[in-house]
Assembly symmetry: D3
Homo-oligomer: 322 residues x 6
Amino acid sequence: MPIHPGEGPPPVFRPPAASSSFASLLNAPITSDLETIEVGLVGVPFDGGATVRGGARHGPREIRNQSYLIRGVHQALQLDPMTLCRIADVGDTPLDHLFNLEDSHRDIQAAFARIHRAGVVPIAAGGDHSITLPIFRAIARERPVGMIHFDAHCDTCGPFAGSKFHHGAPFLHAVQEGLLDPRRTIQIGIRGTITDKDLWQFSHDSGMRVVYMEELYERGYRAIIDEARAIVGDGPTYVSFDVDGLDPVYAPGTGTPEPGGMTTIEAQLMLRRLRGLNLIGGDVVEVAPPLDPLGNTAYVGATMMFELACIVAESVAARRRP
Amino acid sequence: MPIHPGEGPPPVFRPPAASSSFASLLNAPITSDLETIEVGLVGVPFDGGATVRGGARHGPREIRNQSYLIRGVHQALQLDPMTLCRIADVGDTPLDHLFNLEDSHRDIQAAFARIHRAGVVPIAAGGDHSITLPIFRAIARERPVGMIHFDAHCDTCGPFAGSKFHHGAPFLHAVQEGLLDPRRTIQIGIRGTITDKDLWQFSHDSGMRVVYMEELYERGYRAIIDEARAIVGDGPTYVSFDVDGLDPVYAPGTGTPEPGGMTTIEAQLMLRRLRGLNLIGGDVVEVAPPLDPLGNTAYVGATMMFELACIVAESVAARRRP
Amino acid sequence: MPIHPGEGPPPVFRPPAASSSFASLLNAPITSDLETIEVGLVGVPFDGGATVRGGARHGPREIRNQSYLIRGVHQALQLDPMTLCRIADVGDTPLDHLFNLEDSHRDIQAAFARIHRAGVVPIAAGGDHSITLPIFRAIARERPVGMIHFDAHCDTCGPFAGSKFHHGAPFLHAVQEGLLDPRRTIQIGIRGTITDKDLWQFSHDSGMRVVYMEELYERGYRAIIDEARAIVGDGPTYVSFDVDGLDPVYAPGTGTPEPGGMTTIEAQLMLRRLRGLNLIGGDVVEVAPPLDPLGNTAYVGATMMFELACIVAESVAARRRP
Amino acid sequence: MPIHPGEGPPPVFRPPAASSSFASLLNAPITSDLETIEVGLVGVPFDGGATVRGGARHGPREIRNQSYLIRGVHQALQLDPMTLCRIADVGDTPLDHLFNLEDSHRDIQAAFARIHRAGVVPIAAGGDHSITLPIFRAIARERPVGMIHFDAHCDTCGPFAGSKFHHGAPFLHAVQEGLLDPRRTIQIGIRGTITDKDLWQFSHDSGMRVVYMEELYERGYRAIIDEARAIVGDGPTYVSFDVDGLDPVYAPGTGTPEPGGMTTIEAQLMLRRLRGLNLIGGDVVEVAPPLDPLGNTAYVGATMMFELACIVAESVAARRRP
Amino acid sequence: MPIHPGEGPPPVFRPPAASSSFASLLNAPITSDLETIEVGLVGVPFDGGATVRGGARHGPREIRNQSYLIRGVHQALQLDPMTLCRIADVGDTPLDHLFNLEDSHRDIQAAFARIHRAGVVPIAAGGDHSITLPIFRAIARERPVGMIHFDAHCDTCGPFAGSKFHHGAPFLHAVQEGLLDPRRTIQIGIRGTITDKDLWQFSHDSGMRVVYMEELYERGYRAIIDEARAIVGDGPTYVSFDVDGLDPVYAPGTGTPEPGGMTTIEAQLMLRRLRGLNLIGGDVVEVAPPLDPLGNTAYVGATMMFELACIVAESVAARRRP
Amino acid sequence: MPIHPGEGPPPVFRPPAASSSFASLLNAPITSDLETIEVGLVGVPFDGGATVRGGARHGPREIRNQSYLIRGVHQALQLDPMTLCRIADVGDTPLDHLFNLEDSHRDIQAAFARIHRAGVVPIAAGGDHSITLPIFRAIARERPVGMIHFDAHCDTCGPFAGSKFHHGAPFLHAVQEGLLDPRRTIQIGIRGTITDKDLWQFSHDSGMRVVYMEELYERGYRAIIDEARAIVGDGPTYVSFDVDGLDPVYAPGTGTPEPGGMTTIEAQLMLRRLRGLNLIGGDVVEVAPPLDPLGNTAYVGATMMFELACIVAESVAARRRP
């Protein structure tokens, strides 16, 4: 049964304004048929890679729960992503080895590999940031990808507490495994206290462009994003949005908050200015609902995911055209 | 496409322990095909009948969101309701006239009439208590029903603020419209301050059994429920559970809390002791999530709805047998 | 301008159900004319006597704010206190020496002396428990009074951090100053950890009846209250209700919570069973709103104050009759 | 009994610093005599026009409750509004038809008509934004007014869920009824997701100036407000401040938050720069306290209302002078 | 440097009432010298065994933070545990393999083995319930121990999500490894929904006494505890207190809450009635602070740990005497 | 026993990532030996000088509790303060006269005098702002100091509620007592409503530079800080950071919040730009944890204290060099 854009699953009753019957990511249609869609919204309810505070395993559930506040049309861009291309919420990745970090990564990789094989562009709702590594293993095997990365942390550090795979290290491994091109990578919003002066040395050594928060504040978002566009060029590019890139007042519900971050409007304006890039996937990670009982962080996460969905949908539609 | 017990909609990926991909009432399967089920879980996201504090319109959404904490088997009763009969979450009732109380009631009635015509026994997740009147109009037309009613309020008062229909009055109208048999009705947990000494006079005059909280406390739950069983007998009986019957510490997220109420274990033991009655429907109402950011009230609401689902499923299964 | 029962100040517009225009204690009329009333509800926004956690200075404001949930009639007692006698909210006591404990006590005493001289029976909303001492100094000069005291603490200990006056000591001083008759005093709900085994030795030595929580739990509220009635007899009796007598789940917003306390229904049933005593005043103290953002503690405080208002009003009306 | 500026109702006792005895809007005097005042602060506890999330009915109560944090003098403007002209809190509008949107609007209109007939300039504390329509019907009958409107939404859309009157539509009707001059109207802060690309087409078609959030961010508040002053000129002008114009971190307690909004200091600087306009009324709407347990949104609402009171009082005083 | 009872580490300044300079478990002295103490309070900040919701890794930190509310003397028992024997907070166990469940268990076992070798009786603050297995491996090697276990769950189930070690299974393994004597084990408070009717079959099959919540409610705490005493006899006995044994209103901050549980006073009375048993250790587990921002659960956890400390200290002192 | 940088007290077990065994200010080592350190972090758990809302007495405890989120290295400055000089948490000041403001100030002064005599540079964690006066009395006797002061309030007003000493007045007294040089003082971020137009007249009259929030917003942080550096010159300078200088969204847990304040990144950039000044002490005050249950304000307070520690440590190290 093919899913047409905007159709969604046929509930018994239409949902009223305040409540969709069944919560889905961005209020998108729900499907299990990957063959019928072009963009798949995917939950990854995993926080086994968190070093300090967990809770991101509940991110997908709560982002769905708050998505009733997302209406379909992006006002500033005048875009309706669901009509630009076929988008659906395909559910959560299975996690059959909850207590083992590397096995869980394999589970996540397998799920995204299935999505990738179906030709579907994924936008993930995390989950902690360690999930981006298995996503890359699934979708970047053919060639390394570029990345525009919003975060307070570079996530390129070494082993921690006995494991080299955790939410502070995915991009070191992605480069070492040939999945991420560091010269086509820019990291924006980096700040906070660190355990070692050289914690993110790998970013610098490998050639990534690291934009510390101070530089973003002083130069303004336009200069940074224009540089980001130049860095990634027209090659395949992934956008990874860690909500701790935002100041904690906008996203208190996250595992490793760092005061002094981006505002939501800065983040929105930056994401919107990525229009026209060759986008092949993205994620919004580190939404940890137990740390924000009012649900505001999950709503901000949904908002950023909707920004992503708009620019990814436009990119997918552009590639589709002859 | 028939729904078999436990089957549910086919998501792309199996949900992990901490997160069902798509939240449903009691983690039940989701369906749009009423012909295939025997018990329908229905959301009624309406709070236009609330007199003091709203928020119950978000009840169904948040009860779904917290239902990931409900596993399938009732330990004390050793019952698995989903295997006893075919149960599904059929979504929310449509509400096309959100700003008009009586039109909304007509919308709700129409939805339950459709469920009733399909031979499905409904268990509703409110919404404010005014919704039980249109439910009765849909399912009790053939003959008046009996009711076991847990609440801090009798909900049999007269007009308020210009309307005779509101969440403090459904059972006055249900009796007057011949849908509810007051002599087969018992109201348990009544307490709190009131605006007028005769506020619930209709309950007494019409012959309902009113159990004030003091009596419940002094005599204990067994004596009360044994009397309830005697009152409703083996006729068709509806169970209406207003979470404000519980003490506010168990259900702070409700519109008209009254200190000094039932404990959850008292409520659970009472519901379980209704096994074997001829149950034709029920509801859990007045869960108002904005008034309880931690979600505990919605989880308690889901818990009571699960208790209801078990005894209703057993009753449905018993009637099915030749 | 005399205040008649139920009249209140003439606002421009009548308040709707969800919002009294101007919040008052128990939704009572507001007056500044002590000559016209028999019972005065008084706020004492002072927490300078708190030893561990402050916040009770906001008690009167937040109890007023939550009083919109209190309707006028006590359902269980079938009493309408505002028609039994003339009751009004007379505002807060002035506190002109906020940073000096003993001067503040003098300010409080002066305010209650004025009330007492006008023949008005006071019911206070605290404030920390140290305020009961200046209240006694104002109203018990003629003869020592008896007291029924609900609390987790006996509040009869010695000096602390350089002061003999604080919220753990009012009743030691009240006895020593001849204001409180220890043999007509009962303290109910005592429990928790203490700094010294002999912390409450004064209660025992002076002849107060101390009911520890374990005894209340084992013997039940009726036995305890029947004993309380016998102890205070028909002499003038004050009722002091510290919300930390309740278990912290019912009153988390308080300065020195002690797990394992009374339930609200136990407290309500005890207060109701005090009907017919010769009541000459009372208070509800230690509501500390900043420690309970949801406002539930203030609502519980208002509820207990309403219970008090009913039995005090009945007692005042009884004394009035020839 | 005339009310003189700063006098207020005579409470029994003076309030201490931390607690006014009786909470009023902006700590203003309370009166029921409209003849004695020039500016009336009015609560409108109505949220029957909310489409997504209710709770604004509690706005006036909680803005009063948080007003103890508002002292009398505006430091930046060096203005004391209560000495500039006679200001009082006149209470809440009566709402006798709580369950009927259009009847409620009639109740609100009647109350403001009474205020208007007495020559009093109203500043309202909502309630949802639908209340501005009945306010206009009461005060703008003589001639259409201009408006400076802070909001995330234009509130000029068509029918929703069976009603054309709701909190997303007041200004469409105000224009159609000849109460609002669209060419003298500017809407500032518009953003968020929408259900339809043409949702606010009426604003554009009717000639309103619509300032999207992006433009405000890029051009700065001065350019926008200078344009606003030019648009409304010296004709009669109303200021409507919906707190959802602010970013949700400043006002989480509101029905339809949209991430990426104004900061409070931007809003304050804009309001202050309206000095000298011909202001004939204003409102602060959509404060929904149940959605922000800490009360911060209500305090921000009170802060904006105080900014409004200062510039309105100055305008009233200026018109008074010969 | 021997630690004498009540001495503690010498801070520069004495702590005031509201704040100990340095937070410790139960405000006990802090030491690193195991040779000088008889009872060691130990934090185990591990939640890698949680199946549904994490957060218990923050339990020790937040129990310390809330311990300022614990004073030194147990009022009901008239016991001062710090004078009965030498007690100190020895800090948290090291966890060098945070992302590996079994390696973490080895780390925990090593720490408790060191404590055990020093002849110190441990009382642990969890952490999720999986930690009790490595504790048993450290302290019960010589002979199987008996256990009094308060919990909503039997924690004797099989593999979950790919691991046989998790917080729902410690006691199955403890029995299988010969560390726990099932015939000297009683489990109290069992309830809630389960995934399988036979989930806790191992408890029954192995001979443990399982007291479901219904039985506790019906028979009362005395009968249950008297039976518990008979079951464990005078052999070495461990007390494991999972805070989810309490009703969620008392301990909302826990990973797998189950409505309808014990009250705190029931739990306290049961723990006190264990006086005189031969106690060789204990724990309070599953305090998950992120799920209870107000800190009440951590305070309840500290309260139960203090009850444990009293009865364990008394037992240690009794064994010491010739 | 000398304390070497980074050594700290020897806990039994190493703390894992998520939990230091024993919470200390900025995770610094704990010591009681003032002779061994150069910079002392000191808690001052006193809020007896608060005029509106208390709670700051819990500031030191909760700043310690949230300090687990502070890692040791300042990323932007590339500084590790603990290696620059010997820093330790020396505990809280004793407060033996909790109920007497002036005696408490004497207690605080005595503690800081002891620190000062040992040649230790103090950085205090308040406590309300009244504590800075006794700190000055201890450390500025030799010569008046300059001050860079971040705050919403000038704190130079006269008597309030019967006391000239309170948290709104420390700097008036510091000048009058010859401890603070007003011409070397700058106050940044002043705003909000005030009780009197001349409330801060003393600041202006004495020659302090007062930077209102509007000026900071318009001119930007660099211009202000460059002016600050010129004003204090190379004389001894103290930095006082009241968290209410920040907008309330960043620091809701504070006694007198004023909407429209600084962002955290502005504050951080200002503090960092103070490098190289001759810093002789500092404080972070007015963190009132009960008003922010999520702990974010305490974390922001710890963050600002870490910024302070870095620039103070660098200044101490510079002075040490020959």
